[in-house]
């Protein structure tokens, strides 16, 4: 049996298969495995954003003009997006696929990462945003393909959470 693709290569393949073009992001260690490769790929335009809510706004604007986006961020900044998700994306029925690098779980070294990350599934539930977390490399394509398909069919944000079990825990740097 062939080895599974690296998780980030599976994500990139799914983005490509679903005509995702614009990628607004605030960098994080997990998502950078994807975004750094997209930055070298002429099929994508990456948009480094100063704050996570901006990235949601940029993605919403691109959809309004007929283009598809995917937003990348770290769990610590997800809270910054809530107003943009509720009052822009959800209230206008704008599909925004969200890819969140989850800190605060197995192997976390920084205590302040824990509360925000723990709140995310419940905050997403409160916003009626479906969320999925592939935990094995061989499941990444199925989950990301399905999440993007669902997002655009429902015209509603959908979140894919990348936990340390899949992407590895960020290590403390001295």
């Amino acid at each position: 049996m062939a080895d599974a693709m690296a998780w980030y290569d599976s994500v990139i393949q799914s983005l490509r298969d679903h005509d995702i073009w614009l990628v607004p992001y605030v960098p994080d260690a997990a998502g950078w495995n994807v975004v750094s490769r997209l930055e070298q790929d002429p099929a994508f335009l990456t948009v480094p954003s100063a704050r996570e809510e901006e990235a949601v706004g940029i993605a919403a604007g691109a959809y309004a003009a007929g283009k598809r986006s995917a937003v990348f961020m770290q769990s610590s900044g997800f809270g910054n997006t809530v107003n943009g998700l509720a009052q822009l994306a959800i209230s206008h029925r704008i599909p925004v696929p969200l890819f969140i690098g989850m800190r605060g779980g197995l192997g976390e070294f920084n205590s302040v990462q824990v509360p925000a990350a723990q709140a995310i599934p419940r905050v997403l539930d409160a916003l009626n945003i479906q969320h999925y977390a592939p935990d094995r490399e061989e499941d990444v394509s199925k989950v990301v393909d399905g999440a993007i398909e669902l997002c655009y069919a429902a015209r509603y944000p959908v979140a894919v959470l990348f936990y340390s079990g899949l992407v590895g825990a960020k290590r403390a740097t001295s």
């Binding site: 948009v47 704050r51 691109a62 309004a64 943009g84 009052q87 209230s91 704008i94």
Partner: protein, 185 residues
Amino acid sequence: MLRREALRALLDRVTTEPIVANLGSATFDLFAAEDRPANFYTSGAMGLVSSVGLGVALAAPDRKVFVVDGDGSILMNLGSLATIARMGPANLVHIVLDNHQWAETGGQPTHTAAGTDLAEVAKGAGIPHVAAVTTLEGLEEALDRAVAEDGPWCIVAEIEETGHGPRPIFNPEENLLIFRRTFVP
């Protein structure tokens, strides 16, 4: 200069170009002046209108894209000016109608009433074409340049707050789909 005069000056310079309007007064007065398919009324998410406009501008590089923002709103999202500067969309014209107050909530003075100069902030963020205007003639001249010349532009226009037009009833989802059809039939 009144908000409705500023919006009229903008509307006189567009045909099918998209206008992305801030929630509240900018939306109400744009709707009252001319409810056109290429108007996107952001309705909520205060602060985000410039980000939405950036997304539209990146997605539609062949059209001039106009954003009508407010001082209270851009003060919530100053990082957006730096993001716009970094991406440098030549087709984006970001207009900030500065009434120095949070008009929707009772006219409390914003930071621009206390000295914050949004045109200088925009310059400092790296926006290459910035104009600060205080008269209708000044705005018309800045808009003529912004229509004719590559941007990104940020035009900070001081306006006198005298209230807004009637609050229109529309469905945000329907507005989005109508706007989107001007790009994707």
